[in-house]
Symmetry: C2
Subunit: 217 residues, 2 copies
């Protein structure tokens, strides 16, 4: 599949390498290719860097892997017409680090970044997913001791099916469809807890599993 990944941070690069490794044609979108390349040339080795709009134009599926504060501008640069009718995986989180650590959430509770993106790009098929674990775990859930959960939130059934197939490619086993895009509120509000746990465990290599009835006690 032709996939555009918007964002050149750790998440974007990790997803790009993993999806390339699975045989997809991956283009990585950035605001200014020359500036990005100059900043840290080694980080982008082997990746195809394009301007946001060029990356999105040729893609069948687009992944928003930019920082939450930069997502709306990146998607606008990608261009509404280049997102229309396509699955748009939204991996971002509405973290505001302007007050230091821990970050606060710049949208929450009665709205979410996933919903804001869906409202701004009504013809894109937004699926919120993969925002609740670190990049290494996103593409390699087998790193963890037992199977853990990843979530899908979105209004378009076909797009969620496409997301599910992609997640299965990474090895995800517990893929839970939460419902419509409004359920992005819940997964985005898990981030403060994720950060608490990272501090408590002293590691970012962890994830949640959802455990149902079955009586082990």
């Amino acid at each position: 599949m032709e996939i555009a990944i918007l964002g050149t941070g750790t998440v974007g690069r990790t997803l790009a390498r993993a999806l390339s490794g699975l045989g997809h044609q991956v283009q990585v979108g950035t605001r200014d290719v020359t500036v990005t390349q100059a900043r840290e040339p080694a980080a982008y080795e082997g990746l195809s860097l394009l301007a946001y709009s060029d990356a999105a134009a040729g893609a069948e599926l687009v992944i928003n892997a930019t920082a939450g504060t930069a997502s709306m501008a990146a998607l606008q640069a990608a261009g509404e017409q280049n997102l229309a009718g396509k699955t748009l995986l939204d991996v971002s989180n509405p973290l505001d680090f302007s007050g230091g650590f821990p970050p606060s959430l710049f949208v929450k509770d009665t709205d979410s970044l996933g919903e804001q993106i869906q409202r701004a790009f009504p013809e894109a098929h937004v699926v919120k997913t993969l925002n609740t674990m670190n990049a290494e775990v996103m593409v390699n859930p087998g790193l963890l001791a037992t199977p853990t959960a990843v979530f899908l939130s979105g209004d378009h059934a076909g797009a969620k099916q496409q997301a599910r197939t992609l997640l299965e490619g990474f090895g995800w086993e517990q893929i839970i469809d939460l419902g419509g895009i409004t359920t992005a509120r819940g997964v985005e509000m898990m981030l403060p807890m994720w950060l608490n746990l990272m501090s408590a465990l002293g590691s970012a290599t962890f994830n949640w599993a959802v455990v149902g009835g079955g009586d082990h006690g």
Copy 2:
């Protein structure tokens, strides 16, 4: 141990019965004993119902199991002097159902109900715990297929140790100390996701496990 449970809803009654079963002396606090008894007499069979202040006065440990919107008033009725120097387990959640379902959170992100309670009762040793699963699972984590997680947030090490011992009495195995009371923000903001999952799974009998590195894939 002499334990006061504030709140006569499902959570309060379930905790009261379980703690009595473990041999503790349990008093259940309510606003008006006569009114509560009259409302649903069978629900309180075998429980010792007292006014909030009478329940708290005789207790070594107090549990706030009231609805989040009612918690501050219940604790004020219990009396600052009856909470001072005691462990106060806060099981409540800041859910606001005034706009229907799903509820919103009346405090979040940069503050939490746990912190509000600690600020209002500075001499109580507040430990936020057990707010991230349903009542049945709280007191019987062995109901689930595999061990799952419960969290501790609080500023007083001795109170957290007392909470841990009580949780072990219920059979909890994965008890994670998140740090100070500010980490209550994270666990309280998990509630929207818990509600999403309950809808997706069609059951309230589930919980999170935290899974670390170990390579199962």
